[in-house]
Structures are given as C-alpha cells and as structure tokens.
Amino acid sequence: MLKFSGSSVFGGVAIGKLFIFQKNENKVERRHIEDVEKETERFEKAKEKALEQLQGLYEKALKDVGEANAMIFEVHQMMLEDLDYQDSIHYMIKEQQINAEFAVAQTSDNFAEMFAAMDDAYMQGRAADVRDISERLISILTDSQSSLDVFQEPVVIVAEDLAPSETVQFEKDKLLAIVTRQGSANSHTAILARTMDIPAVIQADIGLDPEYNGKTVIVDGFTGDIYLDPDEETSKVMEAKLADCLAEKELLQQLKGKEDVTLDGKHLKLYANIGNPGDVANVLRNDARGIGLFRSEFLYLESEDFPTEEEQFKAYKAVAENMAGKKVIIRTLDIGADKTVDYFKLDEEENPAMGYRAIRICLTQQEIFKTQLRALYRASNYGQIAIMFPMIISVEEVRKIKKIVEEVKAELTELAVPFKDVELGVMIETPAAVMVSDELAKEVDFFSIGTNDLTQYTLAIDRQNAKLGDFYNAHHPAILKMIEMVVKNAHGAGIWAGICGELGADLSLTETFLKMGVDELSVSPAMVLRVRKIIRETDTSK
C-alpha cells in the first residue's frame, strides 16, 4: 500500500480504479506542405468539428453544472471564431506552407503570450483558454483520440491539473473522485467538484506514474488522504466510512422539505451563512429557510475602490430575489482586523482585532455607511431583507445607527424611492454587548450571536495562535452562559435571538441551544441538513 496526501476541497469517500489522466502532449511537428488549399480546408473542417464539440460540451455543462459554469464553453466557441485568430492560421499555412496543426500551435503561442503579458490577472488567465481551444483543434487535426473516452467503468481521475473543459467532459457517473497535483481551492475544478458532489483532493503528492493505472485506490475527501493498493485493514475502515457517507447522504436527502421542529414541537429557524451572491444556489439546494448571515465584505474586498451604491444594490437585490421572499439577513461591512482593503487607508494598528473596524468605521466615516444603507433599503423592495450591525458594544452606538438609518429612509422617501420595512438587529460578539443585552434588546428587532469573535474576546485567546491550542475550549462554560443570558434578555424584550458563528453548526451543542431557547441557527449551507437531523431527533422536555 502507498499513501499520499493533499488538501481536500470536497468531502466524501471514493473507492475504485485509478486512472492517470495525461493531457495529450500534442507534440506538433512542422511539415512542409504543397497543397495550400487542401491544408486550409483541413483546418476549416477541424474548426467546424471543434465548434460542434464545444456546443456539445456547453449543452452537457448546462445540464450538469448550470449556466454560470457552462458559459466558458460559449466563450471558447466565440474565441475559436475570432477572425484575428483564424487569419493568423490561414496566413501561416499560405505564406509559410506549413501544416495546419503547426500553424495552430504557433498562433496559440502568440495569442497566449499576448494575454499573459497583460497587466490584469483575469486577462492573464485567459491565456489558458487560448491554449485550451488550440489543443482541441490540434487533437482533431492529428486525430488523436481523447484519452477520456477510454475508460468504461467509473474511475478516480489523477491528473497534474484539469482544465474546465476536461472536468466537464467526464461522464458524471464514470467519475468517482478527482485528484490533482496542482490546483487551488477556488479553481474551476474545485468548484465543479463541489457542484458535482464528488470528493476532490488538490495539491496531492502523488506521482503520475503510468504503473498506477488500473490499480485500486481509495480517496478520503475528508482528510485529503489517498491510498493506492490499500491493505485489507485500510480497505475495511474506508469501506465502512464510505457506507456511512452514503447512508448519511441518503438520510439527509430525505430531510429536505421537512420542518425544523423538535420531537416535543419546538420550532427553530434554520438559516445559512453566505459570503457572496453565488452561494445562494447552495443555500437553496440544502433547503435552508433563509440566510442568517450574508457577509457584505466581498463587495469591498473584491473591489479596487469603494463599491458604488448601484453595485451594492444589484448584489443585494439579486440575493433577495433569488431567495424569493425568504429572509435574508445582511451584515453591514466588517472590514478591519484581518480583513483589510487598501482604499480604506486604515492605519497600521498594534492590535487590529480590538481596533478601528466594522461599525466603528461606519460611525466615523458615515458616507461609507450611508451608501451601504441606501443600497440595502432600495434592495428591500425585492424580497425580505433584514440588516444587522457588527461589533456593537453599547446602546449609544445602536441609537446612533438608528438615527443614521432614519436619515437614509427620509432621503429615499423624498426621492420617492420605494422600500419596505426592514428588521434591524445587532451582532452580539463582544462581552460588553452580552452584559448590556437587556438594554440592547429594547432597541432592536433581533440578536445574532457571533461566537467566533465572542469566544476570542471572552477567553482572550487568538485562535490563529497554535501555541494556545491547549488553553482554548470552544465549549467553555463562560461562552455557554453568555449565550443563555443573551437569549433570556432577548425573550424578555420580546425579540428573537440566533447564533451565526461556528458554534451554531456544532452538532454536539444543538440540543443545548434548543434547551436554552435559541430561536435561530445560521450555519454553512453544507451543515443545514445535518443540523436539521439533530433538531428533529431532540426532545427538549427530557
């Protein structure tokens, strides 16, 4: 048995035959040709065939992974039809009297270099697209069969890296897992693996040894471990893990559409956390009843300057509309501490976690805050939006916020811009907010407990500091007592309280939270059905 490892981008267990996927190393030879017309026609035919293949891939991707992921093949078709690209190939065939595949390879290099030289990361990445379409043409011209069509039974693919067109080409039911030697967690392949729901491991230290082909391999997508020729004991353990996995998947699927209610009839709102509008599909697929935390930072982090009201409005509106009337709680910007952006021009701080961040920026630089609030209120007209404010420590802050909110509403009313009533809530993530939660509860419509920061501030432990691991206790009684206190104070004022931090998805605490009377849990989309399972098995009266 040989053991390899990499980093996991999607969980699950796969057992099957290994297949080394090598790109067609199309070594193109330069040949002198006599009949220019015939060679030109060869190219034209290959181009038509490539366009057909791409159309096929587009339709397949549309069905398997959705429009957003399929678009790449539409773009590839457009690139293939680009006149500059074609002219270059035609010209080389004619003037240099060279074979079509060599003309394609040359042109490919030239165009890829042009993109690689651009000062924009996105455009630099397009060099790969040029190579992808050119490889396709060359494969057709040299009549080399794509190695993808070879395997008949489901396999675990091991490759250096995979281009999107390659990933999608695999028949879904023939693909057990993906292992690549390169790749990043945000690469197209990783995203597709998640969408296709198969285990994927990247940056694996496995060699592409042809000897491995056809051997039995086990991929543990949870740990990132890969076992080649597994021994009996490993096989046994992993088979059990696979069986558990399948059983759980099955079970979770059955939980879709079921209510979030305990055996003794207590209801809980089970929402999901998201970081950008693209995550909504995941929320809906996992059947969350709403979005309990929509982090608005992506708008600021992905931008080179302050995002405009219009840009923000579009993003919020899209999420509100896609959630079709389900609640969407959007947290106002939480920049600062570990999330910094150049154009905010924040000073270096000795202690950024306790520094100028989140609501403190908003209350100081009110124009930034107002722009976001205007966008949020405008979007409120398209769904059920709620707003929550991070890093609150005092009642005065909340009153200031509410005053600014009233100003924004008045401005919109004056401009006759329609908006709906929006629930306003605060994050409870500082010990101060916990201690004055009885006062805060009178000012807002809901609480959402951010356990990550709350734990860090309460225990005075930086979670990134590996040395402190022994001291850190996520279940520290101080935290649990704080949550209980916050819930009690919320209910005392007639408002609801939820948890949106990591602790909310801690299955060993779900019962405790239910007994405390927590009204809402907001967890990552993948955890929704797992939490639902526990809720439905819990009896809080016992």
């Binding site: 678009m71 457009m78 690139m79 680009d82 500059d84 996105y122 455009m123 397009r126 697209d129 995002p307």
Partner: protein
Amino acid sequence: MKTFDYTITDPEGIHARPAGLFVKEAGKFASKITIAKDGKEVDAKRIFGIMSLGVKKDNTVTLNIEGDDEEEAFTALEAFFKENL
C-alpha cells in the same frame, strides 16, 4: 460616420463573455465598427482584439461606426453597452 463614447460601469469591465456577446451583436451589421481605448483601436467584430484592450470599470471607450447600416448599428450597440456594461 457615427461615434459615441461610453464609460464602463460593470465592475468586471469587458470580460470574455461580454466581449463575445458584443462581437455577436456587432457582427449583425455590415458597417465597419471599431472600438478604441487610450488611442488603441481594434475591430469590434473580433473578440481577442476587444479583450486585448483590457477595458476595466470606469474606462471610457469610443465606438466608431461607418457604413450603410450605421444608424441601426449605432442604436443597437449603444443599447447593448447601456444594458450589459
């Protein structure tokens, strides 16, 4: 000849896909259509050319349209920019 300037508002600028869609739209007309940024002018019917301009948000591009159907092309392409970019 018809001409117009447009300042890109789409946060992603003219990415591959909008470039492709624009080429498709421009291809519907017989007129010669060019798009220029900072003095560099390319044929608006060629996707790689447009992408090579590297147009980002807040950049201003100039379109020049010349030919028999320039009126129609002008209306259609201006609408395309406003709607998609």
